[in-house]
């Protein structure tokens, strides 16, 4: 059989999303291209990582008005296309076998975007007990553990807890969202975070309010600094700047 046919149909490894055969990596060239297609059109905001169209500077309008409490946030890509479908299958359908490949994507972001300094501890954004009971797993914790395994970092799912459910955030301004979430998170084990640099992990960052509230609780407990990594983030367009 000619070699080029075998190249087209290698046996064994398959794409973590579409199941097409592949030689190396996690995703086939088609899915990989779609995952990172945003890089041709957007740049991340230097602070919050939201995606900005070229010519709109390096800092988004929200961060120009008020800087977030975390040092920086970065994401694998925009919340659309394959990434959105992956998150949907992982989070809402409960396809937990996706945790490992998604954790590897996050690890790639940490290595590429957040520099050589290793965080002391990886902390997932927690769920309330009721939400955890309903979903049966915390998607951020599964991602954090996969990321920790990939980079050899310590992970704590207990350091931070969500102590109250909050009202829906739809229609609130950024400041109002931050206020809505104030006090929703509490550090359970201050000794784990005091004086250390931390990496906060979540699946999606929409306005950054949840990440900011978690960061606020961690800084109040004495953390030296917090960086955030998520699978997906928003695109900074005029429509979603104004509340």
């Amino acid at each position: 059989m000619p070699a080029f046919i075998n190249l087209l149909f290698p046996r064994g490894k398959t794409c973590a999303w579409c199941g097409r055969p592949l030689d190396r990596g996690l995703f086939c060239p088609h899915c990989h291209r779609e995952l990172y297609s945003w890089q041709e059109k957007y740049l991340p905001c230097w602070y919050c990582g939201r995606l900005l169209a070229p010519g709109r500077g390096t800092v988004c309008r929200q961060c120009r008005e008020e800087l977030p409490p975390f040092r920086r946030a970065r994401a694998v890509g925009a919340y659309r296309g394959i990434l959105k479908e992956l998150i949907w299958a992982f989070k809402y359908q409960g396809r937990r076998s996706l945790a490992a490949p998604l954790g590897q994507l996050l690890a790639g972001v940490v290595v590429r975007e957040l520099g050589p300094a290793r965080p002391h501890l990886v902390i997932p954004v927690p769920l309330t007990a009721a939400r955890l009971q309903a979903r049966t797993f915390n998607q951020a914790e599964l991602l954090a553990r996969a990321l920790g395994r990939e980079l050899g970092l310590a992970v704590s799912g207990q350091a931070l807890a969500r102590v109250r459910e909050t009202a829906p955030q739809v229609g609130l301004s950024r400041r109002e969202r931050w206020q809505n979430l104030a006090g929703a998170f509490q550090v359970q084990e201050p000794a784990l975070v005091k004086g250390h640099s931390l990496l906060l992990v979540d699946d999606v960052m929409t306005t950054g309010a949840t990440a900011a509230a978690c960061t606020g609780a961690l800084l109040a407990a004495g953390a030296a600094g917090v960086e955030v990594v998520t699978l997906a983030t928003g695109i900074d367009s005029i429509a979603n700047i104004s509340p």
């Binding site: 080029f4 409960g94 076998s97």
Partner: protein, 600 residues
């Protein structure tokens, strides 16, 4: 799954101990999420001693241990001792790989009042012929505008104690301790997960059927077979007779009579309707539906593809205007109502349990049913044990063909199309030096096929074995033959993930360009009146199986406007699949000619 609703609702997690009750009849072992209910149940039946044997266990583990001890109690006779029962539990626990439990809280629960009989009846009726999660049962009751005050899990447990329904764990263990999903029947695709519902780190989750919700070791499925006594009375002939808008061809009429005969008597449990592509097998299957309905039987028409079910629903409603027909597919409204005839995707069939007397399974070889044991399991379980299955296909899988050849599976042939012309037989063209697209000039055979097609004003579907070849072959043709059609490309490509797939296919159907390069995504459901078909790299057996090639060849010659469409297979060598496909098509033509179905 609607992310806005169901995922936020708590999912019932079954945890409970095993217990032992002793009465005049000896010992009985039981399991319960609410032992107070069981105390009441057994007290009513004269059992006095009630002893808790284990700590609360997830349902899958509890059922495994229960079955082990119950089997021992059934066969042990007088030799049964309490010590042996504990020994059996310890062995069973080790077989499942569970940690030993150290302390068992032996405080007996207080007896609870039995659930109201009226509410039990509602659940009993709603669950008839279905296998549902507690949450699905709640939705089924809500859909029927029924309400109960007692927790559903308690009502179901009481019915389980009465032997009316089955209590199945989402994931349970085979007798050898190997886990298996009881919803989809698979033992692969199971993950050991940390589950916040049962607070265990070794819960088992099935990823094989996640699209239908989480199946876990700690989640109960409630199943009740359709009660035989509740079989509907025979329906009047005027209601069940299909109203055809055209006459059946002689081939269809013969096959119709045969399938009618199959469903009118219970001689054979299964039968294959093996039809030529485009011969009208669905209309023939109406015979089986009508015969079963006339006997008051319950009928399921299942197909792996949602589009087929959606398209079939209005067709069947027009054929049987007096019957209530319900179509179930992902996104359909009202999943739990009753109907005379149910059309469902094979995924939706996972919610039925021993309900149907006749299951008609269409396109058994089509994605995703082909090679997916889960979907066979679904339709098998949906059928009553004494029920019948009618398989409809143009390309049965090899194991089914083997059973036909050995005489182990009854078969009804429908070998001719309505226009009376034979099926176009494929012409194999060997091109030993055929290289990747773009290397050198187009092979002469391909040039001839294209010239023949374009010269007579026809269209050509050109199949390639991989998505990555679609654009390459299209560019190869355009590069070799740039000026075929003024005002746009004369060749276009499309595949399953193509962003403009529907648009390109629609333009091809309208005849806006003559050549479409595509993958096996176009092997079914495509009828273009004046069409030739070419398969390039046809020897690639991993993609072009005999079934696929028969389906592809079946795209040509479907219409009376051009019944003699041509089919070319171009490859480096003759593969077994090409030979088998050509043989099957020739065999059908011979059979059709022998039976006098061919008029030309």
């Amino acid at each position: 799954m609607n992310k806005g609703s169901s995922y936020r609702q708590p999912v019932f997690c079954w945890q409970g101990p095993l217990y032992l009750v002793e009465g005049e009849g000896g010992w009985r072992v039981g399991l319960s999420h609410n032992p107070g209910l069981d105390q009441t149940f057994w007290l009513q039946r004269g059992y006095r001693q009630f002893e808790v044997l284990t700590p609360p266990l997830p349902l899958g583990a509890a059922v495994f241990l229960h079955d082990l001890v119950a089997g021992y109690l059934a066969t042990g006779g007088q030799r049964v001792t309490r010590g042996w029962i504990m020994e059996m539990l310890a062995r069973g626990r080790a077989r499942m790989g569970l940690e030993p439990w150290t302390r068992v809280e032996k405080v007996a629960a207080q007896p609870l009042p039995p659930p109201p009989a009226g509410e039990l009846a509602l659940v009993r009726n709603t669950l008839a012929g279905r296998v549902l999660w507690r949450e699905e049962l709640a939705r089924a009751l809500a859909e029927r505008r029924l309400g109960v005050n007692t927790p559903l899990e308690d009502l179901c447990h009481w019915l389980y104690l009465e032997g009316e329904i089955k209590l199945l764990p989402g994931v349970s263990y085979d007798p050898d301790g190997r886990p298996r999903c009881r919803r989809c029947g698979q033992s692969t695709g199971l993950l050991k997960v940390n589950c916040a519902a049962c607070s265990r780190e070794d819960c088992l989750l099935c990823e094989g059927c996640l699209a239908m919700g989480q199946s876990r070791r700690c989640r109960p499925l409630y199943a009740r077979p359709w009660p035989f006594a509740a079989a509907s009375p025979a329906r009047p002939a005027a209601v069940v007779r299909p109203r055809f808008r055209f006459d059946l061809t002689p081939a269809q009429a013969d096959a119709y009579r045969e399938v009618e005969g199959f469903a009118s008597q219970d001689k054979e449990k299964e039968c294959l309707l093996w039809a030529a592509c485009g011969a009208g097998k669905t209309e023939v299957a109406y015979g089986a539906i009508a015969a079963a309905l006339a006997r008051g039987r319950k009928v399921l028409y299942a197909c792996p593809r949602k589009e087929v079910i959606r398209e079939l629903h209005p067709r069947l409603q027009a054929v049987w205007p007096g019957l209530q027909i319900r179509a179930l597919y992902g996104g359909s409204q009202g999943k739990y109502g009753e109907a005379d005839l149910i059309l469902a995707t094979t995924h939706q069939a996972l919610r039925f349990y021993r309900r149907f007397d006749l299951v008609i399974l269409d396109e058994v070889d089509a994605f995703p049913l082909a090679g997916d044991p889960m979907l066979y399991y679904a339709v098998e379980r949906a059928r009553r044990e004494q029920g019948q299955t009618l398989w409809l296909t143009a390309t049965p899988p090899p194991e089914m063909v083997a059973r036909v050849r050995k005489g182990k599976l009854a078969v009804i042939y429908l070998p001719a199309r309505y226009h009376g012309h034979p099926l176009p037989e494929p012409e194999f063209v060997r091109e030993p030096f055929l290289g990747p697209p773009g290397t050198g000039s187009l092979p002469r055979s391909m040039v001839n096929c294209i010239k023949t097609t374009l010269g007579t004003g026809l269209q050509l579907l050109l199949f390639v074995p991989a998505v990555s070849l679609v654009e390459g072959v299209a560019a190869w043709l355009l590069g070799s033959w740039p000026g075929q059609a003024p005002g746009g490309a004369w060749v276009r490509g499309c595949h399953a993930a193509h962003p403009r797939r529907e648009e390109i296919i629609a333009a091809f159907r309208r005849g806006e360009f003559p050549v479409l390069v595509t993958t096996t995504v176009m092997e079914r459901g495509v009828t273009i009146p004046r069409l030739n078909v070419l398969v390039l790299y046809a020897e690639e057996g991993r993609v072009f199986t005999a079934s696929t090639l028969v389906q592809i060849a079946g795209r040509a010659g479907r219409s009376a406007a051009y019944p003699t469409g041509r089919v070319w297979f171009i490859g480096r060598h003759l593969s077994p699949a090409i030979a088998e496909a050509a043989r099957q098509i020739r065999e059908f033509n011979r059979l059709a000619r022998r039976r006098g179905y061919l008029t030309r």
